[in-house]
């Protein structure tokens, strides 16, 4: 492990707590602003869509509160390790590529986007044998497409160009 810590284990713990608190806040906000005004947050089990989620959220809130106490009390016992910038660059790049891929999959279709995604991820991983990478990307993406489209009759996204191969 080289380089300075970017995210320590303690920070990661607080991020998870924050995520849960966002979830709790979202549920309460939706109950107040959406279910409440449409009359779905009152009455018995037949009419009240909010009672159960509200109950579960309160339990979650209680557990998170306990976790916060644990984190504060035990903060010295948590090992001071974590993730360095060097470790985070590649996952972040790949997640960004994957997100971009999902975004383009709808408009451009499976066949235009999959091989470039594979190629780009390989490049991020550090591969530099371009020809091999191109061949591999095309083989993997069309191989999987063949299996799903011709063997399982799944219709993969065709995008605005309607690119679907009639295998």
């Amino acid at each position: 492990m080289t380089g300075p810590l970017v995210i320590g284990r303690r920070t990661a713990g607080w991020c998870a707590v924050a995520l849960m608190l966002v979830l709790v806040a979202l549920v309460f906000e939706q109950i107040r602003d959406v279910l409440g005004p449409s009359g779905m947050a009152e009455g018995g089990p037949y009419d009240n869509a909010a009672a159960y989620p509200r109950g579960v959220t309160l339990v979650l809130l209680g557990l998170v509160a306990l976790q916060i106490v644990v984190q504060v009390v035990a903060r010295r016992r948590v090992p001071a390790d974590g993730f360095t910038l060097r470790q985070l660059v590649r996952p972040a790049a790949v997640i960004a590529i994957f997100g971009l891929y999902l975004g383009l999959l709808g408009p451009l279709g499976f066949h235009l986007t999959s091989a470039p995604m594979l190629f780009a991820v390989m490049a991020v991983c550090g591969a530099r044998q371009w020809w091999q990478m191109i061949a591999l990307s095309l083989a993997i993406s069309f191989g999987l497409a063949w299996f799903f489209e011709s063997q399982l009759d799944v219709v993969l996204p065709g995008g605005i160009f309607h690119l679907n191969i009639p295998w």
């Binding site: 191109i134 489209e149 219709v155 690119l163």
Partner: protein, 330 residues
């Protein structure tokens, strides 16, 4: 040659082999979007899809898309291109009932009909060793004497059986509690074990185990429906007039495509579905499931569907009546 040329070349090659305008329609799998999960309805659609696929020369797959009373399936279909590769399996609930209840904003004539598919009747059943009543009128009398005590299930809330049962209860001024179940067989089982008082029974469940429940009332005036339920009493045999006739109280579907689908593709699909629905083998297999294959082609769509819509519109207040009556009891 660099990377860019290769990709461009590959794209052009792909476009050449799969350009939609170049080849004869249909050249790939067609999807039919079913607004339900696995069950008898899916089996019926699968039978029709297989027969059509054989005529068309491509696979026709049934995509089970349950959710939000069928609305999710319709929305999914409407979001696909109008290229004849997506068929919407237009069941009555999302096609007619949901717009009446204000949950969907389409009208039945926003779609192009291919052909009518099949209809299936509902009945209500109670346990075989029931002692509190022996026939339908008896149950209504018991329900009237014990307001709010009857527990029944129509499957999902606000679905077609719910509307019909609520209308029936309203006619007899009986207040009962609907208990939603996601799986009709489970609801029937809970009637059998005595937790529920009665429930809707679809013809598929009845066929699987005719002895499980006593069929008290078939919710249809069609003789064929009565026969499917072993000749049990139907709404023509009771004192009240529910104002329901024909397809109105039943489940049924027309296969539809989106507006703007090229007309030559629509005609191909219509011809294939017409052939499938006329095929005696297809008809027997559908009938074996307790469904009735329908003969109407696209020219009858407006007349039939608008008739059902008009009948269902007049009874939309029955569910509201039930809700208010239940609240008043508490």
């Amino acid at each position: 040659m660099n990377f860019k040329t290769i990709v461009t070349g590959a794209v052009l090659a792909l476009a050449a082999i799969s350009g939609p305008a170049l080849a004869e329609y249909p050249e790939r799998t067609i999807e039919s979007i079913l607004p339900a999960g696995a069950g008898p309805a899916m089996s019926v659609s699968q039978i029709i899809a297989d027969a059509m696929g054989k005529t068309l020369g491509v696979s026709l797959t049934v995509l089970a898309t349950p959710g939000a009373g069928g609305i999710k399936a319709f929305q999914t279909g409407l979001n696909k291109s109008a290229d004849g590769y997506t068929i919407i399996d237009g069941y009555v609930a999302p096609l007619v009932l949901q717009p009446i209840l204000g949950k969907a904003d389409w009208k039945y004539d926003d779609f192009i009909p291919l052909h009518a598919a099949a209809s299936n009747a509902f009945a209500i059943g109670w346990r075989t060793d029931e002692t509190r009543w022996s026939d339908f009128e008896g149950m209504m009398a018991w329900g009237k004497d014990n307001p709010g005590k009857l527990r029944y299930s129509s499957g999902q809330r606000n679905n077609l059986p719910h509307l019909v049962i609520a209308k029936m209860l309203q006619s007899y001024q009986v207040v009962a509690q609907n208990v939603p179940y996601d799986s009709p067989p489970t609801a029937n089982n809970d009637v059998k074990s005595g937790i529920l008082d009665f429930s809707f029974v679809n013809v598929g469940s009845y066929k699987q185990d005719p002895e499980a429940l006593k069929i008290g009332l078939v919710l249809s005036d069609r003789p064929a429906a009565k026969a499917e339920f072993g000749g049990a009493p139907s709404i023509t045999d009771i004192n009240a007039d529910l104002g329901l006739s024909g397809l109105a109280p039943m489940g049924w579907d027309w296969w539809l495509v989106k507006k703007n689908t090229p007309s030559e593709r629509v005609e191909k699909l219509r011809a294939a579905m017409g052939t499938a629905m006329a095929d005696p083998d297809v008809r027997t297999r559908i009938e074996r499931l307790g469904f009735e294959p329908l003969d109407w082609d696209h020219t009858h769509y407006d007349e039939i569907v608008s008739g059902v819509r008009d009948q269902l519109s007049t009874m939309a207040d029955a569910i509201k009546w039930e809700e208010d009556a239940l609240k008043a009891l508490k």
